[in-house]
Amino acid sequence: MAKGRVVIDVERCKGCELCRDACPQDVLVLADELNSKGYRPVILLDPEHDCTGCALCATVCPEGCITVYREIPTKRSSRTTERKGRKRNAQAVA
């Protein structure tokens, strides 16, 4: 089964949790910290690496603050990223 991950723009997130409801893998949780707007954003908490990159969370997010990545076994010419993306996420919730 495909592996994936999501990057959430926590400053844009309003903590409505609709992405949580939508996530079949239950890998989204509310962060401990509030963002500067006073909202408690959602973050990816995926110890088992269950996220499939199905993008259902992004599909329902009213704020358009979720970017979804999916691993590709074989190399492609399609646009790709390395752990940078992961880092962004790490910082975001830090």
Binding site: K14, K37, G38, Y39
Partner: protein
Amino acid sequence: MEHSIVIAGFGGQGVLFAGQLLAYAGMDSGRHVTWIPSYGPEMRGGTANCTVVISDEPVGAPIVSRPKIVIALNLPSFEKYEPLVREGGLLVVNSAIVGARTAREEIEAVYVPANTIAEEAGSSKMLNVAAVGAMLGRRSVLSVEEVEEALRNHLPESKGHLLEANVEVLRRGYTLAAKTVAA
């Protein structure tokens, strides 16, 4: 004597009711009062505030550029109103969620963990009343009794079961602020 009070915080913090509570108390104790809220969509998600004026004479302007008293329940409100407190005025800060402190020498500031006080009495929702109590502890705009009376008379039906808790929170805030040494 005319008191101008600005109460500001997040939408959910009961800012408007806290103001009305003071207005009711002022009215019931025979003073002239006005209460005016900020209104409209800018309230959505954002911060709300209201201005209360309590005076012995008819109130002219219902809003003031430099309030004598500011109750800041969240950080944005602190940042917006701290600079506006009139010289010699009072700044009440909800230290439970606001870490900041004022650098102004010429005003008096009191830091009360409003959320905590309220939680201890049963529900953090009463943080607004705690802050009002704290204000009364430093400025005798009205007596605690007068405000308590107002609580008893004007707390919405729906909150009825929380009446005594509110009264307790009011007094806790009052005493706590009364003995705090002004910053």
